[in-house]
Each structure stands twice: as C-alpha cells, then as structure tokens.
C-alpha cells in the first residue's frame, strides 16, 4: 500500500464513519463521562451542580430503597432467566423433530413475543386481576383459588416472572437455530454407539449448543437488569415496593425527585455491571462464531 493510497483509505474511512463518530461522542461518550462527573455532585437540574465527593455513593449503600431495588431486580433475574432458558430449550427440542404442523406450532409460540412492551403489560394487568382476570379463572379449572397477584406484595413479583415466560418464543427460536447447527452425523454416531436419546442429548447436543445457552443466559440477565415498562405500567413499583426494580428506582429519583447527582451514581453502578456482563458475552461469542463458520470475518 503506497503512502498516498493509505491516506486515501484513511480519509474515506473517516468520511463514512463521521455520522457515527459524532453520535458516539455526543450521545454515548459525553453522557457516560458527564454522568460520572455528576455522580460526584448534588444536582437538581435547575441550579448548577455542587461537588460532594463520594457522598452519593455512600448514601446509596445506606439507602433502603436502593437495596430494595437491587434485591427485587436480582430475585427477578435469578428466577425468571433460568426458567426462560429451560422452557426455551425444551420447546425447541420438542419442535426439533419431524412433527405434524411444526410450522404452525413454531409461529404460535413465537406470536406472544410480538405483543411486547406496554401492550403486553396492559393485557397481563387484566389477566392478573383477581376479580375478573383470566389467570385465576384458569387456575379455578384445577380447583385452585388464586391469590391477588399484583395487589399482594408477596405475589406481585412472581406475577411478573410468570408474565416474562410468555415471550419465551424468542429464546426458542435462538435454540432452534443452535440445534440446527449440531451435525446430524454426531447424533447418529452416538446412537450407533448405543446411547439413548437422553444420553445423546446430555453428552452430544447440550455441549454443542452450550455457547447459545451461555449467550442467552448473559443477554437475559442484562435485559432483566433493565426492567422498567412492567413496573411503570402495571404496579408503579408496588405494592409496598415489592416490584421496585432498579431502573424504576433510577427513573424515580432522577425524574420525580430531581436528584440527578444521586441518580447518576445509580446509573454508573448499572453501567459497570452491564459492561462486565457484556465483556463476558463478547469473549463467549468470539468462540461461538469460530465454532459455527470457522471464518474470522
């Protein structure tokens, strides 16, 4: 590559990158650094920020609502993500066979995932209504008298976990793609060696799709750290703070109490946790790409 050609390459690269470069500085880097600075200040958005050192961070660790939000979010993550994984994989395994109406089943299971966001929250707000809702009606078919779900602090978080299982179809599609990547020859070889279906699954299929499993585990965790819509639409964090999710806490302290400094400290803790998880997924997905294509694109 000649010197002139090198300069030409650099020039055009930066020309094409320029919209993103502006976006990167203005909408990503500046906010990240700015919120780091603000997290060391007392700031109500109207008056200029006042430097307070680590006060926001020490307050956070002594703040009851902060810990409440951490516990709610972690409990939601730890329960819902593994169940989603198991169901997603289970459904994918059911569909990864020659079965009549396979296309119909696959579409039907994915369909609920298209009702995401507020529409889904409104629907399940009705489903969990203890007087007229669908959930307790279905439970009554089996002679079970359901609880008050969203209105009871002991059950509200579990209601939201049940609701999260409704969109397991997305994970199922990822698992189906993973299962298609398992060479049929490996399965046949295992069966010829006399391994049963269960043993073949455990010793051949499961290790082969473990990258997909890990990827989904981490992405699922990152997603559930950021639950907001359900808390905002269905419960407003209640009753009795039983659904006081981390991002809902962050939103409330920033935009209801106008404590931009303290909320920026909350934001930075979230940022660090998500970045750690992202670094993990990148390490894993490198291996994953290698695995399937063997290319290095």
């Amino acid at each position: 590559m000649t010197h002139r050609e090198g300069r030409r390459q650099t020039l055009y690269m930066y020309l094409f990158l320029s919209p993103w470069l502006i976006g990167f500085f203005v909408f990503a880097l500046y906010p990240i650094l700015s919120s780091l600075y603000l997290s060391f200040t007392d700031y109500d958005i109207i008056h200029p920020p006042v430097f307070v050192g680590l006060a926001n961070y020490t307050e956070m660790f002594n703040n009851e609502l902060f810990w409440k939000s951490v516990i709610v979010t972690l409990r939601y993550t730890v329960i819902s993500v593994p169940i989603q994984l198991v169901l997603g994989l289970g459904f994918a395994l059911l569909l990864h066979q020659k079965i009549p109406f396979r296309g119909f089943f696959r579409t039907a299971m994915y369909f609920p995932s298209m009702v995401s966001g507020v529409a889904m929250s409104l629907l399940w707000y009705w489903i969990f209504n203890p007087q007229i809702g669908l959930f307790n009606y279905v439970l009554s078919w089996f002679g079970i008298k359901g609880p008050a779900w969203l209105m009871n602090p002991d059950t509200s978080l579990y209601a939201l976990i049940i609701m999260s299982l409704w969109t397991v179809g997305t994970g199922m599609i990822l698992f189906l793609a993973g299962l298609q990547g398992v060479p049929a020859s490996l399965i046949e070889a295992a069966e010829l060696d006399g391994a049963g279906r269960f043993k073949t699954f455990l010793n051949v299929t499961l290790p082969m799709i473990s990258p997909v499993l890990l990827f989904q585990l981490i992405m699922g965790a990152i997603d559930s750290f950021q639950v907001f819509t359900q808390a905002f639409v269905m419960t407003q964090g209640g009753p009795n703070y039983s659904t006081w999710f981390y991002v809902y806490n962050l939103y409330t302290s920033a935009f209801k109490e106008y404590r931009a400094g303290y909320s920026s400290a909350l934001a930075w803790v979230l940022l660090i946790v998500v970045m750690l998880f992202t670094a993990l997924v990148m390490k894993l997905s490198n291996r994953y790409v290698h695995y399937e294509g063997g290319g290095n694109k």
Binding site: I45, M120, I132, F228
Partner: protein, 294 residues
Amino acid sequence: MSTIPSTGPHSPSSKVRRRRKFDAVRVMSFISLVIITFLMLLPLFFMVSTSLKSKREMLKFPPTFLPETWQWSNYKDIFDTLQFGTLYGNSLLIGGLTVVGTLISSSLAAYGFARYRGKGKNIWFMLLLSTMMLPYPAIMIPQFILFSKMNWIDTFLPLIVPAFFGSAYNIFLLRQFFTTLPDELFDAGRIDGCGEFRMWLKIALPLSGPALATVAIFAFIYSWNDLLTPVLYLSSSEKFTLPVGMASLTSSRFRIPPWHLLMVASVLAMVPIVTLFAIAQKRFVEGIVLTGIK
C-alpha cells in the same frame, strides 16, 4: 400379511421396534405442543375477544369466551375517547423516521468499517463493540440535560435525531454483511470511474436488501415499543406516542379500568408488528438469531 421373523442386527423386526419407540416420543411431544400452544394463545384469544365486549360484559366472572354481543364500536370509541389516531400517527411518524435515520447512518458507518483500512480503525471498532450493549438508563440523565438545554423537551427530536447518528448494533450487523460482498465488484466500479459515495449507494446498498430489511424491522419495533424515552421527553398529550398514551390507561384517573378499551389498544398496537412479521418472516427470524434482541 405376515412377515417371517429373521435374525441378525438389521432384521425388519428390530427396525419396527425402534420406530415404534420413536413414535411414542413423537406422540407425547405432539400432545405437549398442543397443550403449550393452547396456553400460549389463550391470552391472545381473550385479548381479542375482550376487545369486542361491552362495558358490562367485560366485568363478568368467569370471563365469557366469545362476546355475547360483538361490540365493534369499541374500535371506533378508542379513537374518540383516547385520541388514538393522534397517538398512532405520532408513533408511526417517529418509527418511520427512526428507520430512515438508522438505515442511512448505520449503513454509512458499516461501509466505512467494512471497505477501508484507515488509521485507527481497530480502536474505533473496539469502541463500537463496547457501546453495543450500552444501557439507555445509564446515559439518560446527561442526554436529558443536553436535550433540555437545546429546548428539545416536548418535541419528537430526542426520539428521532439520535437515530441519524448510527446505532452500534446495526452498524455491526451491516458491517458483517458488507464484508461478505466480493471485492471485484468494487474494483470494477472504481475502473468505471464510480466515486466512493456512489459505490456505497449503487453497489453496496442494492446488494444488501435482506440485511437492511432486518435492521429496518428491528429499528422500527424498538422505536414502536419504547416507553422510557418518550415518557421522559413528551409532556403534552397530543404529542404522546402510543405506549405513553396506553400506559396512562392504568392510571388512577379511572376508578374501574376500561378493560375492553385496554384490549382494543393492545390489539391495535400489535397490528404493525404482526404485519411486518407476515411480510418478512424470514428476516424476522434471521434478526432474532443474529442479534438475540427481543
């Protein structure tokens, strides 16, 4: 017809036994699939049926499977009582412009990463990757302060303008696609006297239809479902997006929530997504597999 039992490992009888065992698993799977699908579709069924019930009937327990009287006027009422037409229009406008912005800016940056070997490329690419999972809640406060200094509060600009400056995930996705395009095409273009910008427009983009469609679909869905950003920026009700307007339906201003209208809103909110799915099912599935985005 009777078969004579024969011996040996490949005898027909052992084959038959094997197939029968296999069939039992498949029958069980089929039955489980029917039950699971029934449970998954039940909420959707009631969503549609409740949306057509009268105010009296929606409060009945147990809920009726099908409306006693089909009240199609609910679908008209929601446009009168909730300015649903305005909400829908706002969301479509914002979603449409987000798609346009994302396609242009992300494909430009992706082309830069895929086709040139400029100085510092690896550093920028690492930075791109590291912002891929940047959680919006972590940066929303400084962004809010920035946009309020620009007097953009209660306008659509904070919801649209960032899309015109690229989004990391989409850039990464398109860059992966562009690197698979053969170099010869661009060499031929250069010999024909094609400028760099024209090669992006006339060679790279027309060959990337499927990848661009995937990006467009997911950019639209993200914008269509987003609640947090419009909640921060939009304050006057005629500017609300669909999710913001719908979220207000559960607020305490209703003594009894208008359940039937809630369901009408949910059904209508689903329509564009289902339409996209019907048109481009393959792109949908591809997008999920490539990004893992829900």
